[in-house]
């Protein structure tokens, strides 16, 4: 083990200490996998999340793509997230595919009919990445039929911008996320895509007892996402699109479980995507970090 690796392990242990010491906080998480609403992480809280997507693939092995998220509420108007991506393709291999650093900034301080949030993300991911956290440009299912040995060689540095527009009324959340992506590595044009979603808790009033199966703990909805071509060929031709019912179960024991079967809407799309995710929120992470680093 060299010195760099030792430093990295120390950094990880240092980062984990506040998590282990932090009290847990009940999350009220949205059920979406791709769409974002306008709600940010509570300031000082850290959410640790794991997600997995099983996808069917024509002309090659099916795959399971996984990602891990660390989501931190820097302030009430700024949330930052770090992702690690990977995938396993049946009859091929299991590989790490890259990392992402995402930031969401709330543009308006109070609630409005439509609430805009600016989303900025830097990605360093290989072409073998299959998590499909967003679908953009002319992304199609056949892109994922190429072997990992080949696609992992192509490393992309991308900047992604989204405008998250979201509104909550009578318990319903409606969200629309137009997106634009620029690959900094090659001469690729700007690519575009979208995600839209709607969701609602199964019950609007809270019960008096702490319970796992209360209807208010479940939020159900649907999301739809896909590509919109690029700067030179904007529109629907040669793009893929998906629709997916979504459900989140916010447990009083501080875990959130999400599930979503997704269906491709045209021949360019994967036939079926099954996503699930597990997350846990830790409150007061920021304060503990500051204390650990010698602050007040």
């Amino acid at each position: 083990m060299n010195r760099t690796h030792r430093h990295l392990i120390h950094l990880c242990l240092l980062s984990l200490a506040p998590i282990l010491l932090a009290p847990l906080a009940l999350a009220q998480e949205s059920p979406y996998f791709v769409t974002y609403d306008h709600y940010l992480e509570e300031p000082g809280n850290l959410e640790v999340e794991y997600f997995s997507t099983f996808g069917t693939q024509r002309g090659a092995g099916n795959f399971i793509a996984d990602w891990t998220e660390l989501e931190y509420g820097a302030t009430a108007w700024w949330t930052t997230e770090f992702y690690l991506d990977g995938q396993s393709t049946f009859n091929d291999s299991t590989i790490f595919t890259g990392f992402r650093w995402e930031n969401r900034v709330r543009l308006l301080k109070a609630e409005h009919l439509i609430n805009p949030v600016l989303y900025l993300e830097y990605e360093q991911i290989s072409e073998a990445d299959k998590i499909m956290k967003e679908v953009e440009g002319h992304d199609v299912a056949s892109d994922h039929a190429v072997s990992n040995a080949f696609t992992r060689q192509g490393l992309n540095h991308e900047l992604e911008f989204k405008l998250l527009l979201s509104s909550t009324h009578n318990g319903w959340n409606f969200a629309v996320n137009p997106l634009a992506v620029k690959n900094l590595t090659g001469g690729d044009p700007w690519e575009f895509g979208y995600a839209i979603g709607a969701s609602r808790p199964l019950a609007l009033k809270a019960s008096t007892q702490r319970c796992n199966l209360c209807r208010e703990n479940f939020i159900a909805g649907v999301e739809m996402y896909g590509g919109l071509g690029d700067r030179y060929s904007f529109g629907l031709p040669d793009t893929s699109h998906y629709v997916a019912p979504v459900i989140a179960w916010n447990l009083p024991s501080d875990w959130t479980l999400r599930l979503s079967p997704g269906f491709g809407l045209n021949d360019n799309s994967h036939g079926f995507l099954l996503r699930w995710g597990l997350s846990r929120e830790f409150s007061g992470f920021g304060e503990r970090m500051v204390r650990l680093l010698g602050g007040h």
Partner: protein
């Protein structure tokens, strides 16, 4: 720089920078002093809204549960105030119209660190208001 090192740097940058740059400061005093100002900012129409769950027998208990889950971290387990949030037993809060408290819950005080809570359905925010108003100024 190896890839693993660059990932380590990215993790550290993404998680530690905001922590170091925006330490969770003790806002209790300033928030306590300004809570009446924030409540007074509620538009007249919003402040005048009637609490539909004011006489709901279950609302205080449900509100207490929601408070423990979402609010106690900042405002203290007994709502007496915490490091980040003011006491909700303060007379400024207890004497405020229910509609103003509901409005503050909905909109938060984002610049001072209180998030918006409109992700809780209206009914749950009214349950919280009912619970807060049931506390009185007792310590």
């Amino acid at each position: 720089m190896t890839r693993i090192t660059s990932i380590g740097v990215a993790v550290a940058f993404s998680l530690l920078t905001p922590v170091v740059s925006f330490p969770q400061q003790d806002h209790t005093t300033s928030l306590t002093n300004s809570v009446d100002v924030e409540l007074a900012n509620a538009p007249k129409k919003a402040a005048g809204r009637h609490n539909p769950l004011e006489t709901d027998r279950e609302a205080p208990a449900a509100g207490a549960k929601l408070f423990a889950q979402h609010c106690a971290e900042c405002h203290g387990a007994t709502a007496g105030g915490g490091k980040k949030g003011p006491s909700l037993r303060a007379s400024e809060v207890q004497q405020a119209p229910p509609g103003a408290i509901f409005w503050l819950l909905t909109n938060g005080v984002v610049r001072r660190g209180m998030p918006v809570w409109s992700k809780l359905p209206d009914a749950q925010r009214w349950q919280l208001v009912t619970y807060i108003k049931s506390l009185g100024t007792r310590s």
